[in-house]
Every structure is written in structure tokens, then in C-alpha cells.
């Protein structure tokens, strides 16, 4: 009896999974050569993190929204190419030159990686096809609730009194928060230390237990703790104020004249993608960003929608490339 029941559950699971998988295999044909463009039945969505990483979760959420709003008719498979902070994913795209059934989500990391990781070789973002910029994630500056700092100026003044003593926490030394920290140190002529953690959670924990004095991160990283009164937001570390913390003064408001690196998310395709394919994807993302589901998602998670299509997106990336390059020079990396 039990065995029978079990077998039935099991086959039910198998069946459901097959349905969920939407018949499994992806189409092989992906030649996107000009005139007779056929939208691919399924687009492979590439990300540069493993399952559970920032870009991975963003893309899976995005696909869910596109499905819910019927912008696409089947679930696009996500492919994780984790090697080398985006370098592996760039190489994978280079190998898909001219094809139209693979696109990739990018972040500011894709701008930084070719400049910092030797193993990446000479691949750059310029070689790829710019499709659409979707959002910027405004970074804010958080301190513990009982911290003496009421503004970024307070923090920087204190750092001047004891150079090299205060601690900023964040991810790797080349991620956006670290670069902006370096830019601010150069601008204000002082120094503080940087404490790296792989996981956002560990960074927040370091802030909560007072090991670190402050952190730059997204609204999502802090919102729940701010609501609980454990953390305070004292500045906005990007030109676009965070919709979740609109009252936080920007760095410019506080009188620091410095161009900071934004955390952006957008879409690129393999080199030499056909114009029809580019148009096809531009339409999809333009449509998605106009849906109620997207608006709700962006609002709840403190994302600022900034749609940039094709050339405009390419120009934006080129501009950010220069900002990042400058920041890296400042940080001596």
C-alpha cells in the first residue's frame, strides 16, 4: 500500500516537473542572419553568478514577471556562467557571435572585470551588443542605530581625525561600494579601512555588531533593519535618490563634488546580433518595464527604472566605463 502511494506521488512529481520544465530541451537553431528573422522559441538568459547570487535572482524574478504579464509565452531557461566575475559569461557570449537566442543580464561588475581581472583577457563590454539598460539600484549609506554619525559629513570629519581607523564594510575591493568609498576618500583627502565579506548578510551583521562603522548598499539590504530601528540611513550614495529613503541627502547635497559609480542592471547580447533581433528584445524589455507587476516589484525593492535602449545604453555604458576606470586608478587597483 505505502509503496503504491509512494509510486503514485513520485510519478506525479515527475509529471509536474516535466510540465514545469516546459518540455525540456532548448532549440538548437539560433542563426540570426539578417532578413528572415524568426523570434527564437526560447531565449537562454545568461547570468554571471551562481543560483542564489544577485544577478541570478534578479533575472529569475524578471522572467517570472515577464511570464505573469504574458510578455513571453514560455519560461526562458537561465544559464549560470560563474567563472571570473563575468569574464566567463563574456567569453560564452563571444562564442555565440551573430546568434539571437542568447542574451545576458549585466551589472556594473561587467564594466569593472575587464579592467581588473587579468584572466579575462582582452574581452570588453564594447565587443558585445548593447540591448537595454533596465534599472539603477541607488546605493545608500547605513550606520548602526546608536552610531554617532548623523550624516556622511560627520563620518568623514571623524575619519579625518583618525585616518585609517574607521571601517567601511562591503564585498570585494572592486565592487561598486568599495569604488565609491575610494572616490570619497580621495575627494575628502582622508582614509578609512575596507572590510570584505562574500555575503551581504555578513556585511549587515558586521554593521549590527559594530565591527564596521558604515556600509554602502542597496535599499533592499537595509530596509527591514531600518524599519526595526537597528540601522539608520544617513546618505544617498548615488545621483538618483533611493525611492525607499527619499530623505537621505545625496553626497552632492553634502558638498562633495565627486562623480560616483552607479550600480546598474541591463541586458546585452552576443556580438553582431542582427538589428531585427535587437529590436525584438528591446520591445520585450520596453513592454516589461511598463507592466504593473514590474512597477510593483521595482517599488517594493527600491529600484529605479531607467530604460535605455540600444545606442543610448551603449553610450551610457561607455561613460560608466570611464568613471569606473578613474575610480580604479584612485583606489590604486
Amino acid at each position: 500500500m505505502t509503496i503504491l502511494v509512494r509510486a503514485r506521488w513520485f510519478s506525479l512529481f515527475v509529471l509536474l516537473s516535466l510540465v514545469a520544465a516546459g518540455c525540456g530541451l532548448q532549440g538548437d537553431d539560433g542563426g540570426g542572419s539578417g532578413a528572415d528573422f524568426e523570434p527564437p522559441s526560447k531565449t537562454e538568459f545568461l547570468v554571471h553568478t551562481g543560483p542564489g547570487g544577485g544577478s541570478d535572482i534578479f533575472v529569475r524574478d524578471l522572467i517570472s514577471i515577464m511570464r505573469t504579464e504574458d510578455v513571453i509565452s514560455s519560461n526562458w531557461p537561465v544559464r549560470n556562467e560563474e567563472a571570473g566575475e563575468g569574464a566567463g559569461a563574456m567569453n560564452y557570449l563571444m562564442g555565440k557571435s551573430g546568434e539571437s537566442d542568447t542574451i545576458s543580464a549585466i551589472t556594473t561588475t561587467w564594466v569593472t572585470t575587464p579592467l581588473t581581472i587579468e584572466e579575462a583577457g582582452d574581452v570588453t563590454l564594447e565587443d558585445l551588443t548593447a540591448i537595454a539598460g533596465l534599472i539603477v539600484e541607488p546605493e545608500v549609506m547605513a550606520v548602526a542605530e546608536d552610531s554617532p554619525y548623523q550624516s556622511i559629513t560627520d563620518f568623514i570629519e571623524d575619519a579625518k581625525k583618525q585616518p585609517g581607523k574607521l571601517i567601511q564594510t562591503g564585498g570585494s575591493t572592486t565592487e561598486v561600494g568599495a569604488l565609491n568609498g575610494a572616490l570619497l576618500q580621495a575627494e575628502s583627502g582622508t582614509e578609512w579601512k575596507f572590510l570584505s565579506f562574500e555575503e551581504v548578510g555578513q556585511r549587515v551583521a558586521a554593521l549590527l555588531n559594530r565591527d564596521a562603522d558604515m556600509m554602502f548598499g542597496s535599499a533592499q539590504d537595509f530596509a527591514a533593519h531600518v524599519e526595526a530601528g537597528k540601522l539608520r540611513i544617513i546618505a544617498s550614495i548615488s545621483p538618483d535618490p533611493s525611492p525607499v529613503f527619499p530623505d537621505a541627502p545625496t553626497v552632492q547635497d553634502e558638498g562633495f563634488d565627486v562623480e560616483l559609480v552607479p550600480q546598474v542592471r541591463g541586458i546585452v547580447g552576443p556580438p553582431d546580433m542582427s538589428d531585427e533581433a535587437i529590436q525584438y528584445y528591446e520591445d520585450i524589455f520596453e513592454q516589461t518595464l511598463g507592466t504593473p507587476s514590474w512597477e510593483e516589484y521595482a517599488e517594493k525593492n527600491g529600484l529605479v527604472t531607467q530604460l535605455r535602449l540600444g545606442d543610448e545604453w551603449e553610450a551610457f555604458l561607455a561613460e560608466k566605463h570611464d568613471t569606473v576606470e578613474q575610480a580604479l586608478e584612485t583606489a590604486e587597483l
Binding site: V14, L25, G30, E44, P77
Partner: protein
């Protein structure tokens, strides 16, 4: 000359120490200290030195013991080595082919090399195994779990 565990260990000690020297030469290129705290080279250098010391200690500790106290090293016979290394070489060869001929064919080839070449099995049971193992694994991973296994022939 008889091959004893003692002699083998002495040899391994030297190999490990040499590997340690190689690692150390690489590790020293990384910053040992970085602004007063351990840098990227700190731990690798320490570990490489530990390997050098360990390797030398192994060699020396075996060297001072007389050979007569040591057991014979259980060197695989030619027959054994042909089987164990045969499996490994079959694995090596087919893995090299996966991208070119795709996963299913490569794995069929692997099982065939093992069953026909090493195990010398013949008959319908062997043939069935050769086909069924890769097929079952493919169904599990590629179809059910949606792992994009290489299909070969430029198909990605």
C-alpha cells in the same frame, strides 16, 4: 632492488617538497603583507613552506629507518595497473571528446571502452548496458533537471 613502503615514502617526500618549492615561488609573487595586515600571499606562502618541511620530514624520517623494517610496497601488477589506469584513460579520452561529439556519444564510448576493452564482456547484456547507462543519466539530468548538457557537433 625491492620496492618498499619506506623507499616510496622517501620519493613522495621529495616530490611534495619540490611541489612546495614551486608553490612558494608562485606565492612569493603575491603580497605577503598589505598595509600592515596579512595580504594575499601570507597563507599560501606559509602553506607552501609547510609542504616543504613536511616533505623533507617524511623523507628524512624514512631515511633513518632501516629498509628491512619496512613492508614491501604493494605495487600493482601489470594486470592491475592496466585495469585501473585503463579506466582512468578511458575517462580522460572521453571527457576530451564531450565538446566535439556531445555528451551521450561520449558516455556511450566510455562505457563501451570499459565493458568491451577492460572487462572483455560481450553479448546483448553488455550492449544494453552501454546504451542504457548514458541514456538513463541523460534523461535524469538533461530532461528532468534541465541541465544543458553539451550536445556536440557545434550544437552548443
Amino acid at each position: 632492488m625491492k620496492l618498499t613502503v619506506r623507499k616510496v615514502d622517501m620519493g613522495i617526500g621529495v616530490v611534495v617538497a619540490l611541489f612546495g618549492v614551486f608553490s612558494l615561488s608562485r606565492a612569493l609573487k603575491l603580497d605577503f603583507y598589505d598595509e600592515g595586515v596579512p595580504g594575499p600571499g601570507f597563507f599560501p606562502s606559509g602553506l607552501a613552506m609547510l609542504l616543504i618541511v613536511g616533505g623533507l620530514a617524511l623523507t628524512v624520517s624514512r631515511f633513518v629507518k632501516p629498509d628491512s623494517e619496512s613492508e614491501d610496497f604493494d605495487l600493482p601488477s601489470r594486470f592491475q595497473a592496466r585495469r585501473s589506469l585503463g579506466v582512468w584513460i578511458a575517462l580522460l579520452a572521453t571527457v576530451a571528446l564531450v565538446n566535439a561529439i556531445g555528451f551521450i556519444l561520449a558516455m556511450v564510448l566510455l562505457v563501451a571502452m570499459v565493458l568491451l576493452g577492460i572487462e572483455r564482456r560481450r553479448g546483448p547484456a553488455a550492449i544494453a548496458t552501454i546504451i542504457l547507462i548514458p541514456l538513463l543519466v541523460y534523461l535524469l539530468f538533461a530532461t528532468l533537471l534541465q541541465v544543458p548538457l553539451p550536445t556536440g557537433f557545434g550544437g552548443g
